[in-house]
C-alpha cells in the first residue's frame, strides 16, 4: 500500500492518478464519492470517522483530503487541528465538504487553513469533482 501511495504521490501533478482521502460518515454520501471519483480516475480511500481519517492519513499520504465536519468519535475540526500539528501532514490540501454552513463554521475552518469550504447540498456532484481538480492543480503549482 505504501508503494502505491508514494507512486501516486509522485504523480500529484497528474490529477487523474491522485489519491484522495474522503472522510465521510454518511454511507450514502461515501458511496457516491467513491463511485464518482473512481470513475474520474482517482484513487479513493474512505474513512468513516475522525480517528480512522488520521490513521489512513498517516499510512497513505494522500494528495488531497475531502473532509466532513460532523463525524463520530472525532469531528472534522479536531482532525484539521491534529493534522496541522503534524509536519508530514500539514501541507496536504483539505477541502471541507459539509452540510454545516454557519458563518462561524466557515470562518473556523478557514482559520485552520482549508483550501475551500463547500456546503454539500449547495453544489452538484460535478462541481465537487471540479473543486477537487482545482485544489490538486493549485497544490501541484505550489509544489513546483
Amino acid at each position: 500500500m505504501q508503494d502505491v501511495a508514494s507512486t501516486l504521490k509522485e504523480a500529484a501533478g497528474d490529477k487523474k492518478t491522485a489519491l484522495l482521502l474522503v472522510a465521510e460518515d454518511d454511507q450514502f454520501y461515501a458511496n457516491l464519492y467513491r463511485t464518482k471519483l473512481e470513475k474520474e480516475g482517482f484513487g479513493v480511500l474512505v474513512a468513516s470517522n475522525g480517528t480512522e481519517t488520521l490513521d489512513l492519513l498517516r499510512k497513505n499520504s494522500p494528495n488531497l483530503i475531502i473532509l466532513d465536519l460532523v463525524m463520530p468519535e472525532m469531528d472534522g475540526f479536531e482532525v484539521l487541528k491534529k493534522l496541522k500539528e503534524e509536519k508530514d501532514l500539514r501541507d496536504v490540501p483539505v477541502i471541507i465538504l459539509s452540510n454545516l454552513g454557519q458563518p462561524e463554521d466557515i470562518e473556523r475552518a478557514k482559520a485552520l487553513g482549508v483550501f475551500k469550504y463547500i456546503i454539500k447540498s449547495n453544489v452538484s456532484i460535478h462541481q465537487m469533482v471540479e473543486s477537487v481538480e482545482e485544489a490538486l492543480e493549485s497544490a501541484a503549482q505550489h509544489a513546483q
Binding site: 452540510n99 447540498s121 452538484s124
Partner: protein, 378 residues
C-alpha cells in the same frame, strides 16, 4: 435608597425624578456638552464596573466602551467626542466592556438633548443588559445549525445521486425516466433552497448580515445570474435582455448576498414568465441611487394581493397556481437585505401583463455608513 451625589443640589420636587433614575433597571449615563460624564445611575455603576466618584467629569469614552464581535471600540472617545446629531441605536452583537475588561452583552441607545434655546446640552445613554437575549440567540443558532445540517444531508445526497443518474454515470436512461428524474431533481432543489432561505432569515435576524461589504460590479453580477439561470430560461423559452449604464459606479455591498438578492428577483421573473416572454434587466443611475429593474411579461400580481408580496411565507394566488413550488420567503429576504443596505425595493405589476421589480441602492455611500447600517439592525 442612596441618592446619587448630583441629587444634593436638587429641590425636593425634583428628587422623585432622581429616585426614578436610581430605581430603573436600565443603566443611565449622561454626558455633558463636552462629552464628560455628568451622571450615572446605580445600574450604570454595576453594569460598567466604574464607581460614580471615578467617573463624574471623565470623558464618557473612558467609561462607555463597546465591543462588537471581538473589536474593542470606543464609541464616544475622549479626543473625538461629538454628540450624535440624531438618536443612535446599539443593537446586534454588542457588549459593554466593563472596567475589569470583561464583557456584558447590551442593547440600548444614545439620545442627544438640548437646552431650551436649542443649543446642545449633552447626551443621554441608556443601556440594558442583554445577556439572556444573547444566550437565547446562541441557543437558537445552535438549534438551526443542527436542523439545517440534518435536513441538508438527505437532500444533498439525493441530489448527487440524481446528478449521477442524469449525467449517465449509471447507464443510459429512458426518456421517461430521465424526465421523471429531472422533476425529482427540481423539487429536491426547491427543498434545498427552502432550507437556505430559512437560514438566511434566521441569520439576518441575528446579525443583520455577517458578510463584509465589498466593491461590486453590477454588470458582472447580472452576467453571472443570466448564466446561472440560462437552462431554466431555455426550458421556459424565456429570452433575457439587459441594458446597463456603462458609466455606473460600482456598489459597496456584501457581494454574495447582493448576488442572491438579484438572482432571487430575476429567477422569479423567469419562473412567472409566459413561454416566449422577455425578461429585461435594466441598471441606471437615478440621482444618488443605483436602480436595478427587472421587467417581465409574466402572470403579474393580483392588485388586492400586492400589499402582501413582501410578507414572509406569502405567495400570490396566481403564483401558487402557476408554480406549485416556492417558499414565499424569497422576496421577504430580498426586502430585509436591501433595506439593511440603505436601499428600497418596490414594484409595479398588472395581473396577466407582467411585473417590474426595482431595487434602489445608494451609490455614493461611504463604507462606514453601510457598516453602521448593518449593525443597527436587530
Amino acid at each position: 435608597m442612596d441618592f446619587p451625589s448630583i441629587a444634593c443640589d436638587l429641590s425636593g420636587k425634583e428628587r422623585w425624578m432622581v429616585l426614578a433614575f436610581a430605581s430603573v433597571s436600565d443603566a443611565i449615563f449622561v454626558a455633558d456638552t463636552h462629552g464628560n460624564m455628568l451622571f450615572m445611575n446605580p445600574k450604570a455603576v454595576t453594569l460598567s464596573g466604574w464607581s460614580e466618584d471615578e467617573s463624574i467629569g471623565r470623558p464618557v469614552g473612558d467609561i462607555v466602551k463597546f465591543s462588537i464581535d471581538d473589536d474593542i471600540q470606543t464609541v464616544l472617545s475622549s479626543s473625538a467626542y461629538a454628540p450624535p446629531e440624531s438618536p443612535q441605536e446599539f443593537t446586534g452583537r454588542i457588549s459593554l466592556v466593563k472596567k475589569d475588561g470583561s464583557k456584558n452583552p447590551i442593547k440600548g441607545r444614545a439620545l442627544p438633548f438640548s437646552e431650551k434655546d436649542g443649543t446642545r446640552a449633552g447626551t443621554l445613554i441608556l443601556l440594558s443588559d442583554a445577556t439572556i437575549e444573547h444566550r437565547l440567540i446562541q441557543a437558537k443558532d445552535h438549534f438551526l445549525s443542527i436542523v439545517a445540517h440534518q435536513l441538508r444531508t438527505p437532500l444533498g445526497s439525493a441530489r448527487w445521486c440524481m446528478d449521477l443518474l442524469l449525467s449517465g454515470d449509471f447507464g443510459e436512461l429512458s426518456r421517461e425516466a430521465r424526465s421523471a428524474i429531472i422533476n425529482l431533481h427540481a423539487s429536491n432543489q426547491q427543498m434545498v433552497e427552502l432550507v437556505n432561505d430559512l437560514l438566511d432569515m434566521a441569520k439576518f435576524n441575528r446579525t443583520g448580515g455577517v458578510e463584509e461589504p465589498a466593491i461590486v460590479d453590477v454588470a458582472e453580477v447580472v452576467e453571472g445570474i443570466f448564466r446561472f439561470l440560462e437552462l431554466d430560461a431555455q426550458r421556459r423559452r424565456v429570452v433575457f435582455g439587459k441594458r446597463i449604464d456603462p458609466e455606473l459606479p460600482k456598489l459597496f455591498v456584501p457581494r454574495r448576498r447582493f448576488y442572491e438578492v438579484v438572482r432571487n428577483i430575476v429567477s422569479n421573473a423567469v419562473k412567472y414568465s409566459k413561454p416566449g416572454g422577455h425578461v429585461l434587466v435594466e441598471v441606471k443611475k437615478i440621482d444618488a441611487m443605483c436602480r436595478l429593474s427587472v421587467k417581465d411579461e409574466g402572470i403579474g400580481i393580483p392588485i388586492d394581493e400586492q400589499q402582501n408580496i413582501f410578507s414572509k411565507f406569502f405567495r400570490a394566488s396566481n403564483a401558487v397556481r402557476s408554480q406549485t413550488e416556492g417558499s414565499g420567503l424569497g422576496l421577504a429576504v430580498v426586502k430585509l437585505f436591501v433595506e439593511a443596505w440603505g436601499g428600497r425595493v418596490f414594484f409595479e405589476s398588472i395581473e396577466g401583463k407582467g411585473t417590474t421589480f426595482h431595487i434602489e441602492l445608494p451609490l455614493s455611500q461611504s463604507r462606514e455608513k453601510i457598516i453602521e447600517g448593518n449593525n443597527s439592525l436587530t
